[in-house]
């Protein structure tokens, strides 16, 4: 057999049957899916489809239901959602949990949180698995050595009824990160640098495998940030070969195997790597030493520059279509070409989302705001990625650090990442945000989003304008 990538091996080990004659990228297989995670807004129509067809769920214990998108994040939790639509979705979600026998983490559950934060911290997703779930950021799980990818509602229904998906093999891209990150530069900057380098559709049609000593040196949480946001380059599936750091991360997780099963599993997981001479369809290399803290200036995640630079000038762009896209972005963002990004004032600062609201993210942000205060005219919010993260942060006093600095310390959920609840930007408000999407209206109609690392958000909140976190870090 010719040398195979880790992606190829995982697909091969999950292929129930071939669905056409071809092989390689584009070939269609019936793919076995190990686990799924369901949320209240993309799953209802899948359950309705099952009900209409009189179908059962193939393996109810392989699924987990989490309320995260529509719930408020106010400190006082209530079972009922304040708006009729959200209430209806949450009610139907609970009904589906009961009728189909799937475990539910509802808004009052102590383990509730953003699905992509909860699943790893439970040990619900494990190396070697294939995870297909109804949310694009399912790529997060690549950090644990499993192949994760997002699916739509029809495919959720297909998965629930069959534990499989009709799946087309992707092309493969290896992204190698060489070297160590300079101080003040984080995993978020790595993935933003990747997106900036290859573009918002640079990985469309590809599954990405990350590699290199730069990745190996990152914490598992940092790796999750990278895998999570790689979908903003179009990647349809992301994976990192699991290593000792992953096994250490999983060892004490409640749903991870224990005892002999654990030893057996680790032995198997240690073999999860691609062949040394496997060939990828595309290779991308990033030098860690060249990466700087990045911020977006536009309305697509690839419209980003290092914080020390200026808002780019569309008239310098030779390609007409790109020039028009830049002009549209600057008009929406209300930015003038040539303005130094550090002069852009903000009204909101948001630390949250499945990209950057794990404990390590909150620690990094807290280190910047400790002993400082949010600037006048800025509203700062911290929304922990899960209720467990919230408790862990409180146990080490991070809540006090944020509250003393003038931030709101809130309950967990997607919150201002997509503003499906009552956390919304007002039209024209400008937000420094640790999230993953700066699309028009994403955080509220007319709201303006600048993506950056959580430490950079903390620095901007304190300064009142976008700023280089390395300046503040030096003064700690």
């Amino acid at each position: 057999m010719s040398p195979r990538t880790l992606y190829d091996k995982i697909i091969d080990s999950h292929a129930v049957a071939r669905l056409d004659e071809s092989s390689g990228p584009g070939a269609e297989v019936l793919l076995y899916i190990d686990r799924t995670i369901l949320n209240e807004y993309t799953s209802p129509q899948a359950f309705s489809g099952l009900r209409e067809a009189g179908r059962r769920v193939w393996r109810p214990d392989a699924a987990l239901m989490v309320v995260d998108h529509v719930n408020p994040t106010a400190p006082q939790r209530n079972a009922e959602m304040p708006d009729a639509g959200g209430a209806n979705q949450v009610r139907y979600f609970a009904e589906n949990s009961r009728d189909f026998g799937i475990e539910l983490l509802d808004v009052l559950h102590p383990l509730q949180g953003i699905e992509h934060v909860v699943a790893p911290e439970l040990g619900f997703v494990l190396p070697g698995m294939v995870i297909g779930a109804g949310d694009s950021h399912t790529t997060t799980y690549g950090a644990l050595g499993c192949l994760g990818f997002g699916i739509g509602t029809s495919d959720i229904e297909h998965y629930l009824a069959t534990s499989t998906l009709r799946y087309r093999r992707m092309k493969t891209m290896r992204v190698t990160l060489n070297g160590a990150l300079p101080p003040g530069v984080t995993a978020k900057d790595v993935v933003m640098a990747l997106i900036r380098t290859i573009g918002a559709s640079g990985a469309t049609g590809y599954a990405i495998e990350f590699a290199g000593d730069g990745i190996a040196a990152l914490s598992v949480e940092g790796r999750m940030t990278i895998c999570n946001m790689a979908v903003e380059a179009g990647a349809r599936g992301v994976i990192m070969a699991p290593d000792q750091a992953v096994f250490d991360y999983l060892a004490d997780k409640p749903r991870a195997p224990k005892g002999d099963l654990w030893d057996h599993a680790v032995e198997h997981w240690s073999g999860l790597r691609g062949d040394a001479d496997a060939v990828f369809d595309r290779e991308v290399r990033l030098e860690a030493s060249e990466i700087e803290p990045l911020v977006t200036w536009g309305i697509s995640p690839d419209q980003a520059v290092p914080i020390g630079e200026r808002v780019p000038d569309p008239s310098a762009e030779p390609d007409v279509a790109r020039r028009k896209d830049m002009q549209r972005a600057l008009a929406y963002m209300d930015l003038t070409p040539g303005t130094a990004l550090e002069e852009v004032a903000i009204q909101r600062a948001f630390i949250g989302s499945c990209t950057n609201a794990r404990l390590s993210d909150l620690r990094e942000a807290a280190a910047i705001v400790r002993g400082r205060h949010v600037a006048a005219g800025v509203r700062g919010m911290v929304v922990p990625g899960s209720s467990s993260v919230r408790r862990a942060a409180e146990a080490e006093g991070l809540d006090r650090v944020f509250i003393d600095a003038g931030f709101e310390w809130r309950q967990s959920g997607c919150s201002l990442c997509l503003a499906m609840n009552d956390d919304v930007l007002e039209p024209g408000e400008r937000c420094a945000s640790s999230t993953n999407r700066n699309f028009e209206g994403r955080q509220g109609a007319g709201g303006r989003t600048h993506l950056m690392s959580p430490a950079m958000v903390a620095a901007a909140a304190v300064a009142g304008h976008l700023t280089d976190v390395r300046r503040l870090a030096r003064e700690i």
Partner: protein
């Protein structure tokens, strides 16, 4: 799903790159539990102003494009969120096919699962069709899926590629779940083998 055989109608041009699913179906339309009522949400912010009045300059609001069946779009159409509501809304608006250079992956799968035909062509051809779509005198196209060809009034004939299994499912309007459940025995046999070798996966 509705089978796709040969469809004729006006095409409209939406040339912006990276049109994401937040734009195709904004979040205020994601609070339902069924698939219906989403036509109003499709491109809502582009179609309507803050007071809910149609924006007269948006192409789909202009009388020449009232019955639009096809969109000719910019690159990376459908990127972002996995929300299938975007595809449901487009179909409910009457869109049957979208022609562009590249489509985001989840959006493409969602489209296939609902009978919305996506056609990928090189930038020159997409540019040519965008030119036709922008001209109310020449914006009527016919898409013949069994023949894999796009026809325009000026004798343009453009062939396109599509994977055979996807074409077959679209033409016949197949229920993918039913087809897969025909292989239930194979799935069960696979599952037993697979878990026997990985006992830690059984909860």
């Amino acid at each position: 799903m509705q089978p796709f055989d040969t469809v004729t109608g006006p095409a409209a041009s939406l040339p912006a790159a990276n049109v994401d699913t937040d734009v195709i179906m904004p979040k205020q339309f994601l609070k339902g539990i069924d698939r219906s009522g989403l036509a109003i949400g499709a491109f809502h912010t582009l179609r309507f102003d803050a007071a809910g009045a149609p924006r007269p300059d948006f192409v789909l609001n202009r009388p020449e494009w009232a019955e639009t069946r096809f969109l000719v779009v910019g690159s990376n159409f459908g990127c972002g969120s996995s929300r299938e509501h975007a595809v449901w809304g487009l179909l409910q608006l009457g869109i049957r096919a979208i022609i562009g250079t590249s489509f985001a992956g989840i959006f493409a799968d969602n489209a296939a699962n609902n009978g919305l035909l996506l056609i990928s062509l090189d930038p020159e051809r997409v540019g040519m069709l965008a030119g036709l779509a922008a001209d109310p005198e020449r914006n009527r196209l016919t898409i013949d899926l069994p023949g894999q060809v796009i026809l325009a009034g000026d004798a343009t004939r453009m062939a396109f590629d599509i994977p055979a299994t996807r074409k077959d499912a679209l033409v016949r309007g197949l229920d993918a779940i039913g087809t897969t459940l025909d292989q239930a025995g194979a799935i069960r046999a696979f599952e037993e083998r697979y878990h026997a070798a990985r006992p830690w996966l059984l909860r």
